[in-house]
Symmetry: C2
Subunit: 229 residues, 2 copies
DNA sequence: TATAATACTGACTCTAGAGTCAGTATTATG
DNA sequence: CATAATACTGACTCTAGAGTCAGTATTATA
């Protein structure tokens, strides 16, 4: 019994964590295909290459599997968004960074995106055990963004407005526009979604009567320098 | 058999239509409470004050009931939106009108709103028999709006951009902001949602560097005159 | 290698709820 | 009022799928 029980993970624990991750990945695929209700744990198990009973060694219920799968990615998204916003310089660049991170996730993890798009309503609306934590996480992300917007308002770069509501709205916009592309109602090419969302959020539909500064970006967004560590 | 079979509806038909309507109303309440999957037809029947079997005299399946309930309202919404936009004068007023109609529906028919908010993702994403008609209806509404936006662009009142995508985005915005209020993440008072959405869509978050016209509305939006029918 | 501990299995149980249908109530008709 | 037509009922069937658990395989330990 002189096993490594001090902070370091047991071989067993590592294995368990790995298996858990595998299950969540499989779950993500299946939930994406079917939606929460139509998904069966039988299919999840099959997808993960294990028996249904094994799922219950790692998670207590279907709901819990679902939520674990979603939360994992949402936490990751928040981390990345925070990092990207910290990296960027100035309000505009930070907003762009927030958008870029979300776009990146949507593009790279289509499974998660689909779940997110499809189940968002249910996650918000119906009283599950996970509604509250979901909302909190979602709100936390919005608050990160709202802080940036508030800075911008103080600096006069943005007109005054309710920062949290605006931040939430930007989150909505990203989700929706990707939904729309996924639904096939948005042009499938020739429309840079991230740019579209940014432009709309930043300028609205009104014509630029008097461009404040002629900072027409050369080709793409100038997001490559990485000063101050 | 010299019954009234000429265009005019039979007593029977009227009755049947009435019963059908009652069922859809009940269904709307139950689907709103529970969401599609968790709703049971037993509860719908109870809510309508009839037996479960009777439902099947009017509709062939749960799905069909759901879709009928949703479509009814969506068609109504489209009608109203078209009318309101026709009434209004100029692009800005028309956009405001489109927003107002949607806001009105959201406020007046909370049951429908909840269904709409919660099941939107599913309606879009998963291959039901009703995905296509739903999308078509949703797109049709967007196109109505897109026509207005396009006019605005031609007239130089809006900067150029993809009209359909912008129209869809405005629809999204309305839905989302009402979702948010319903979720309780938007301030519950002191924020006029319709105005919030309009302002954001129209001006973005950027400060008004040079107000094109000093048409600062006095207190509320000036939406009461109704000239030229 | 024996045996204990742990990880996994999949056939099984149990439930909920969609859809059915023989029977009953209601309404129309001669 | 008799009887036919129609409208409704709710107990029942059937299915799908979440969750269980006795049994099997695997891995660690003596």
């Amino acid at each position: 019994m002189t096993r490594a029980q001090n902070s370091r993970k047991t071989r067993r624990e590592v294995l368990a964590e790995f298996r858990g991750g595998e299950i969540l990945a499989a779950a993500r695929r299946v939930f994406a295909r079917r939606g929460f209700d139509a998904a069966t744990l039988e299919e999840v198990a099959q997808e993960a290459g294990i028996a249904k009973g094994t799922l219950y060694l790692y998670f207590p219920s279907k709901e819990e599997i679902f939520w674990a799968a979603v939360r994992e990615r949402m936490l990751e998204l928040r981390q990345r968004a925070q990092a990207a916003m910290r990296q960027a310089e100035g309000v505009q660049a930070r907003v762009r960074a927030a958008i870029a991170v979300r776009g990146e996730l949507m593009r790279s993890d289509t499974e998660f995106m689909r779940i997110y798009l499809t189940e968002f309503g249910h996650l918000c609306a119906h009283p599950t055990r996970h509604r509250k934590p979901f909302r909190e996480l979602y709100l936390a992300m919005a608050r990160d963004l709202a802080d940036v917007l508030e800075d911008g308002m103080r600096a006069g770069e943005l007109r005054p407005g309710p920062p949290l509501e605006l931040a939430l709205t930007l989150q909505f916009l990203m989700r929706d526009c990707f939904t729309a592309r996924y639904m096939g109602v948005f042009a499938d090419d020739g429309l840079n979604l991230e740019n579209f969302v940014f432009e709309l959020f930043w300028h609205g539909v009104r014509p630029q009567s008097a461009p404040p500064r002629p900072v027409k970006k050369p080709a793409a967004a100038p997001r490559r320098m990485r000063k101050t560590r």
